[in-house]
Amino acid sequence: MTDQYPSLILIAPLLFALFVFISSWFSRKPAFIMTAIALGLSSASAVGLLAQIMANGPLSYRIGGWAPPMGIEYYVDHLNALVLVVVSCLAFWNLIATRPDIERSYGDKAPIFYTLYLLSVAGHLGIVVTGDAFNLYVLLEIAALSGYALLAMGNARAHLSTLRYLFMGTVGASFYLLGVGYMYIMTGSLNMLDLARLLPPLYESPAIAAAFGLVLVGIFIKMAFFPLHAWLPNAYSDANSPASSLIAPMTTKVMVYAMIRICLTVFTPALAFKSVWFSNGMVWAAVVAMVMGALFALTQKDMKKMLTYVLISEVGYMVGGFWLGNRLGMTGSILHIVNDAVMTLCVFLCVGCITFRTGSTQFESLKGLSRKQPYTMAALVLGGLAMIGVPPTCGFYSKWYLILGGLDAGHYEFVAALVFSSLINIVLFFRIFEIAFFEPYGDMHGDHYHGPPHEKIQDAPWSMVLPLLVVAVGLIVLGLYSGSIVTNIIDFAIPATII
C-alpha cells in the first residue's frame, strides 16, 4: 500500500466523513473515534509520504490511471509533503485537543461538525497535494464551504461575519478560477507541470500576466493578505473555538503554500520574478501587511481578535519572505508555514481553553486567570514567546531566515518591519501576561498585595490541557529541529535556480 500514500491521505478523511455522517443518524457516540481514526490514518500516510519523498525524490500519482495532462495527477515534492504533514497532524491534534469543547458547543450536531471538519481537512489536504490547477479550485471550494459552515456557529455576530467571509471567499475563488481560465485559453492545459512547460513562449503575453495577477489576487483574498483581509478577524473571532483553532492555523498557511506552488511550479521563478518592480512591490505590500496587522492588533480589547490580527501580520511575513526572491527568504517563508501553523494552533487552543471556562477572551475577563488556569497560561506564555520570536522557540528560527533573506536581498524595510512587528508582539503578549498574572482580583492591603486566600485551580479538562501542553512544548522541540527541517526538506523544495 505504500505507493498509495498520496491517495490515502485524502481518501481516509473523505470516506470517514461519510461514515460519520451516516452514523450520526443512529448514534452520537462513534463519531469522534471515527474522526480520530481518519485523521490518524491521514497523518500517518502524510508522514510515510514525506519519508518516501525524502528517500526517492518527488513523485507523481495518476488518478484513475490516466496520464497527465489528460487526467488529474498528484504531484508531490518536498514542499507539499512537508505541508501535508503539517496540515494533517495539526488537524488531528486539534481534534484531540478540543473534544470536550466540541461536544459541549455543538451537542446533538457534533457528528455533523465532525463530518464538516473532515471535509474541510480533506479539502485543504487536497489543495496541497494536487498537481492540477483546476482541481485546486474544486478543493478550494470544498475547503471553503465546509469552513463557512464550521465558522458559522459562534456568537451573535458569527452568521453575518461568515456570510461576509463567504462573499469574499467566493470572489477570491472565482478570481482564481478566472485566472486558470486565462491560462487554459492561452495554452489548452490545466496540469501544473504541463503549464510550466507550455508557458515560456507566452511570457510576454498580457493575457498570461493577467492570469498571473488574477490567480494571485484570488489567493491573496483567501489568505487574508492586507488589504484584502477584512473578512478574517470577524469570521475567526466570532466562531466557536474548536472551529477557529482548526481553520486559523490551516487556511492561511495552505493558501501561502498555494501561492508558492503557483509561483514556483506553474509560472516558474523566471516569470514570477521577471519584473523586479513587481516583486519589490510585493515585498512592500507585505511590509505594509506586517505593520498594519501589528497596529490593528494593538488596538484590540479582545484576545481572540487580537490574535487574528497577529495572524494577518504573520501572513505578511510569509508572503514577504517568498517575494524576496532569494533562497534564504523562501526558506524562511516555508519554515514559517510550519512554525506559524504550530504557533497559531497553540495560541488558539489556549483561547479555546480559556473560553471553555470563562466564556470570553475580553481582556477584562482575563484578570488573574493564571491562578485559575495555570497550565493554559503557561502554554500561552510559550505560544506568545514563539510569536515574539524568542529562542529557542520555533518562531525565532523562521524569523532568522526571513531577516537574513531580507538582508541578502537588500530589503531593509522588510527587516525593519519584521523587527517592528516583533516589538509590537512583545507589547501585545506581555500586556496579556500582565493582566493574567499580575492583575489582582483579590483585596489590596495597603501597597502590598497578598494574593487571594485560596483561589481554586479550575483549568480546562485534562483532555484539553494536556494536548495543549504538548503543542506548547512542541514549539521548542520544533525550534531545535529547525536546522534539520531546512537542510533535509526545505533545501530540496526550493528550485536550484534560486540562489
Binding site: Y148, A156, H159, T162, L163, T170, L178, Y184
Partner: protein, 132 residues
C-alpha cells in the same frame, strides 16, 4: 471602423459580455447593502465566469461533443476532432455550476439565520444593531 466591427467586435464580443456581466455582479456585491442582493450579485459573478469558460469551448463548425454514428449500420463513430466542440470546458463548468449552487445554498442559509436574528437583511442596519 468596419474592420473593427468585423474583427474586433465579432471576434471578441463573447469575452466582453462576460466582463460586463462579471462587473455587474461585482458591483452588486460591493455596493448593495441588502444581503440577498449581494447573494444575487455573487451568482451573476459566478455565472459570468461560467459563460467565459463555455465560450472557450466553442468552435466554428463544431457540434456538441457526443460522438455521432458513422453512416451505415455498423457501430462506427465519426471521430474527427474538427467536428466537435471542445468538451473540457463543459466538464469544468459542470463543476463550477455545482459549486455555485452549493455556495448559494450555504449563503442563503446564513442569510436566513442573520435575518432571523436581526429581522432585517440590510447590512447597515444589522451592523448598527450589533454595535448597540
Amino acid at each position: 471602423m468596419t474592420e473593427f466591427l468585423q474583427t474586433g467586435l465579432t471576434a471578441h464580443y463573447n469575452y466582453w459580455i462576460y466582463i460586463i456581466l462579471m462587473l455587474i455582479g461585482l458591483w452588486a456585491m460591493m455596493a448593495k447593502v441588502n444581503l440577498i442582493k449581494k447573494i444575487i450579485g455573487m451568482n451573476i459573478f459566478q455565472t459570468a465566469i461560467i459563460l467565459f469558460y463555455v465560450s472557450i469551448g466553442a468552435k466554428k463548425g463544431g457540434t456538441i461533443p457526443i460522438l455521432e454514428h458513422a453512416p451505415g449500420h455498423g457501430h462506427e463513430y465519426i471521430m474527427d476532432a474538427a467536428l466537435y466542440i471542445n468538451p473540457l470546458p463543459h466538464v469544468l463548468m459542470l463543476t463550477a455550476i455545482v459549486v455555485s449552487v452549493a455556495t448559494l445554498g450555504v449563503a442563503l442559509a446564513l442569510a436566513l439565520k442573520t435575518y432571523r436574528e436581526h429581522k432585517t437583511l440590510d447590512e447597515d442596519e444589522i451592523l448598527s444593531h450589533l454595535s448597540e
